[in-house]
């Protein structure tokens, strides 16, 4: 069932997470890589403390699209695989759960790098 509420909540929660990120950017001059890592770790911590699942239930794509969701699925993958397969799961679980996203990012980047070239910026914003 498609409901407008899902979109509203996705927009609001996703927007709010980015809002928090922008406060960090303004206050601390944090760079792209550091923001990504920071929010990834936040996602992992949320998952370990079992907060992420109810949060996602509430916020829908507002929770899964931000990199927090990526961190959470890394952590969740590792934890469930560990429970299922034991020690080996510690090492296989995280990447297995996120393989789709990582593979697609690498494949699409490679593909479009072959097709496109970078262009000069026409002034800042």
């Amino acid at each position: 069932m498609i409901s407008i509420w899902d979109y509203v909540i996705s927009f609001l929660v996703g927007g709010f997470i980015c809002f928090l990120g922008q406060i960090l950017v303004i206050r601390t001059k944090i760079t792209t890589a550091r923001i990504l890592v920071l929010f990834l770790i936040i996602g992992m911590v949320l998952e370990v403390f079992n907060v992420y699942a109810p949060f996602k239930e509430f916020a829908k794509a507002g929770a899964s699209v931000p990199i927090i969701g990526f961190g959470a699925s890394l952590a969740r993958g590792a934890i469930t695989a560990t429970k299922e397969y034991g020690l080996i799961g510690i090492f296989t679980g995280g990447l297995t759960a996120t393989a789709g996203g990582i593979s697609m990012a690498i494949f699409a980047s490679f593909l479009f790098a072959l097709i496109f070239s970078s262009k000069t910026k026409k002034g800042g914003h």
């Binding site: 927009f11 922008q22 931000p66 590792a78 510690i90 090492f91 496109f116």
Partner: protein, 148 residues
Amino acid sequence: MDKEKRNTNYNLYVESKLPKTKAWPSLFKAFLVGGIICAIGQGFFDLYSHFFPNLAESEVTTCMLMSIIFLTCFFTGIGIYDVVGAWGGAGSVIPITGFSNSISSPAIEFKKEGIIYGICVKMFTIAGPVIVCGVVGSIICGFIGLFI
């Protein structure tokens, strides 16, 4: 006056001279861009769950993320995403699209150094830390999982 004292004084002085820009417009832009990207994600989610009702929720989520990642790489290639990013700030970085953009932009940029030494080597110059921290973090989480 010793150098260290002079330098700290100068740094304090420069700090006081920094232009005071209003924070609200950029916060609003980040909110808007981040929110719209998440709403688009929700759109893909609904689309896939409608057409592939047999998939589990986590699989639909993966499909949705893959679609957004693919599209971001495309928009990076045609030179639109850097404009979105310059306008939206963290709003374009924190969604998974930011991760995707940080992989595709160096790949496209360093294409001129060749496929192996350009695209393949430089692909993770920005997103590398995300993968490394992600993998190391997930292993730590796995260990924690042993005791839960």
